[in-house]
Amino acid sequence: MSDATKPPVATAEPSDGLTTWPHLVRVEFLVALAAMLVLTVWSIVLDAPLEEAANPNRTPDPSKAPWYFLGLQELLVYFDPWIAGVVVPLLIIVGLMAIPYLDRNPAGNGYFTLRQRPFAIATFLFGFLGLWIIPIVIGVFCRGPGWNWYWPWESWDVAKTVDLRNVNLTDLLGIRDATAATWLGGLLLAGWFGLGGVFWLWQRKSLALLQLGAARYAIVAFLWLSMAGIVVKMALRLALNVKYVWVSPWFSV
């Protein structure tokens, strides 16, 4: 339809979209109204928790962090505090911030698509759901005294002692000498991150890796292997009671 045949109405919309007033402002107002209604009813029905006064001499068991940090607290089962509480959060923040500079795939900009960016979406959803949301659900509902596993319907009065004789991976491999264990553990960890290099040598001619370039690829590989490494360590603990992969005199992983 040409412009000449359009009736000259006062409320004609610009060709590239709709005027924010009233179209967007109306939607925002209605959504805000509905949200305030929900929040008000929620606040009338459910009171915010207030336990007994703070008592420095009585440590509750378990002591849980605020729920949104329970994913990190759950990691304390598998890693030392400096990894679970410092290194992992920093990597999450830096890794999230780096995403736009690492994802060079031009497809899927401004619309939902799985087919055009399967790797990006699978990686993000795995991290978001698998390594953040599910551990929070476990931390909130399934952790009781001693940070032992209690189903939500189980009573915390039942004492649970879990016999966990955790051993280091190098012990499992029969290495008794401490220096040799340090070297072997370090090599295993270096080899894990070296997988990124192997994959580069194998696939460097592929379109995706050419698009990335060496610097971006190195960062992606490091972040991705770190994420997968958390899962590997969890699996090693749950299957073989592995305490540390790498024991050194200064720190252990």
Binding site: L24, A48, A53, P81, P100, D103, R117
Partner: protein, 257 residues
């Protein structure tokens, strides 16, 4: 011929709004561009940007819950003293003595929890729709900073009721700072830097080796002043950049339009 003098009502209207209210395209634009609040929006939006199916409404709702916590938070500040001696007593008074104190507190807490979830879902939506891609890369970075600020705001507020839940959750959380490599007294490399439980990163956060009076004051100031200021500043940049980066993201317009 003289024009009749302008009526008081019209003068007042014009002095505030600067434009007429008649539903004309020009006034629709001015309604946005001449309002300090609304001008964070572009004057026009692409059609799909209105669809909740696309935006999920999560960014706007995050902002709304932030506003709710600001308003209720200011009210709560009237009744709350950030000391170990008074904090818990003030909470009890707020709940049982102050008219509407309980619902103020409830709304503050539930809006804060909701905000954390909404911000996560906002990030999920922006990722799934690829909206962080060029030219919006840096606005995603600001968004991650706002995500961190949201959780820090929630975390610092968690201590203030000064009940068992608050004290021990903050103890668990801030113990992580004591494990920081080189900067925490329990972290690897602590012997190299010589930090003790009185001089390490956790002591800086808490104002001492454990959660006590100085920690309440620090968290209170961070919670009520420092972090909200940072969040407001970054939000202004975040919203302004949406407009400057070409409005809400969307698929490229079909050819021939």
């Amino acid at each position: 011929m003289k024009t009749p003098p302008e009526g008081l009502g019209r003068q007042l209207w014009r002095s505030i709004f600067r434009h007429r209210f008649e539903d004309l395209p020009r006034n629709r634009m001015l309604q946005i561009t001449s309002s300090v609040f609304l001008h964070l929006h572009p004057a026009t939006v692409r059609r799909h940007g209105l669809r909740l199916r696309f935006t999920w409404g999560m960014g706007g709702l995050s902002f709304l819950t932030f506003l709710v916590t600001v308003v209720t938070g200011v009210v709560l500040m009237f009744y709350y003293r950030p000391t170990a001696q008074w904090a818990y007593i003030d909470m009890k008074n707020l709940q049982h003595e102050i008219p509407f104190g309980m619902i103020q507190r409830n709304m503050h807490r539930w809006a804060a929890h909701a905000m954390v979830i909404l911000v996560w879902l906002h990030m999920l939506r922006v990722f799934l729709s690829g909206s962080y891609k060029a030219p919006r890369e840096f606005n995603w970075v600001i968004g991650v900073a706002l995500l961190v600020l949201t959780m820090l705001l929630s975390f610092t507020g968690y201590l203030l009721p000064w009940d068992q839940l608050a004290r021990w959750a903050i103890t668990v959380g801030t113990n992580m700072a004591a494990a920081t490599p080189f900067l925490g007294h329990q972290g690897p490399g602590a012997s190299l830097t010589g930090v003790t439980e009185r001089t390490d990163l956790r002591a800086l956060l808490l104002g001492g080796p454990q959660v006590g009076d100085p920690a309440i004051l620090r968290f209170y100031v961070l919670h009520c002043v420092a972090l909200p200021l940072m969040a407001v500043l970054l939000m202004a940049v975040h919203f302004w950049r949406i407009r400057k980066d070409g409005g809400i993201s969307g698929p490229p317009p079909p050819k021939g339009e």
